[in-house]
């Protein structure tokens, strides 16, 4: 019973925070809502006995949120059009309503989870082998490409 209640709370929190991340007009609040989504999702993955996924979700999510937050603060226009409390509450209610199908699915029975008993090195190297090196190269290339593009644009602008 406690497990079901915990799962239902996670599901409601996840759906409501995800909806608010899209619904709220103020960028800062939307990004904070996305941060809450990532944290709840990480807890949810721990509940599913998938610790690697939980840790990666948390680290990647918080990194993305940090960049989004800074970008939002730097670039988002300060219009002063703040959503009213009524509109925010409406978003909350719609979020709760959206979570009803998932609650009905989860609330019936405790989901069966099967813990995976192996170290992270096995997940990274034995299950995936060579493609992790290719993945590292892709990330490196992307970061170099972005740096070059941004520098080139900045140089053109200075001219």
């Amino acid at each position: 019973m406690v497990r079901i209640m915990f799962d239902v709370l996670l599901v409601v929190g996840l759906v409501v925070s995800a909806f608010l991340a899209v619904y709220l007009d103020e960028t800062t609040y939307a990004v904070l809502s996305l941060a809450v989504t990532n944290v709840i999702l990480s807890v949810f993955y721990f509940g599913l006995d998938t610790p690697f996924a939980a840790v990666f979700q948390l680290t990647m999510g918080i990194g993305t949120v940090a960049v989004l937050f800074l970008t939002g603060q730097m670039l988002a226009p300060k219009t002063g059009n703040v959503q009213s409390l009524k509109q925010s509450l409406l978003g909350l209610v719609v979020g709760i309503l959206l979570s009803v199908p998932a609650i009905l699915a989860v609330g019936h029975n405790i989901p069966v989870t099967n813990p995976v008993g192996f170290p992270l090195s096995t997940a990274l190297w034995k299950l995936r082998a060579i493609d992790i090196i290719a993945q590292g190269l892709v990330i490196l290339t992307v970061s170099l490409g972005i740096t070059v593009v941004l520098k080139e644009k900045g140089r053109r602008r200075q001219k």
Binding site: V11, L14, V15, A18, A21, V22, T27, A30, V31, L34, T37, N38, L41, Y45, L48, D49, T50, F52, A53, F56, Q57, M60, G63, T64, V67, L68, T71, G72, L75, A76, P77, L98, P101, A102, A105, V106, H108, N109, P111, V112, T113, N114, V116, F118, T122, A123, L124, L127, R128, D131, Q135, V138, I139, V142, S143, I146, V149, L150, K153, G154
Partner: protein, 96 residues
């Protein structure tokens, strides 16, 4: 398997954001939600089928997601430098 509906709900929210919002940062948040919904399926199936490969693939999905986000942010910054706006309706003027 009970959590597939949760993943579908997150996907629906992401698609709603993509189709109704005009701010580039909000669109990025919507894309994030869609990728979260997609990667959630890996974890759900890995957990219910007790197949560790799902978690390993999720790590791959996350790194690809990080690359997508990085490219998207670079594009957002370039667009802001050029047009000084984050409204995608302004971008449609580029067609003319």
């Amino acid at each position: 398997m009970e959590y597939i509906i949760l993943s579908l709900t997150l996907l629906a929210i992401g698609i709603y954001g993509l189709s109704t919002k005009y701010n580039l940062i909000k669109l990025l948040i919507s894309v994030e939600l869609i990728t979260i919904a997609a990667s959630m399926n890996f974890v759900i199936f890995a957990s219910s089928l007790s197949d560790a490969l799902g978690q390993a693939f999720m790590i791959l999905a996350f790194s690809v997601d990080a690359c997508i986000t990085a490219i998207a942010f670079a594009l957002v910054i370039i667009i802001y430098r050029e047009l000084e706006t984050l409204d995608i309706r302004e971008l449609s003027k580029l067609k003319k």
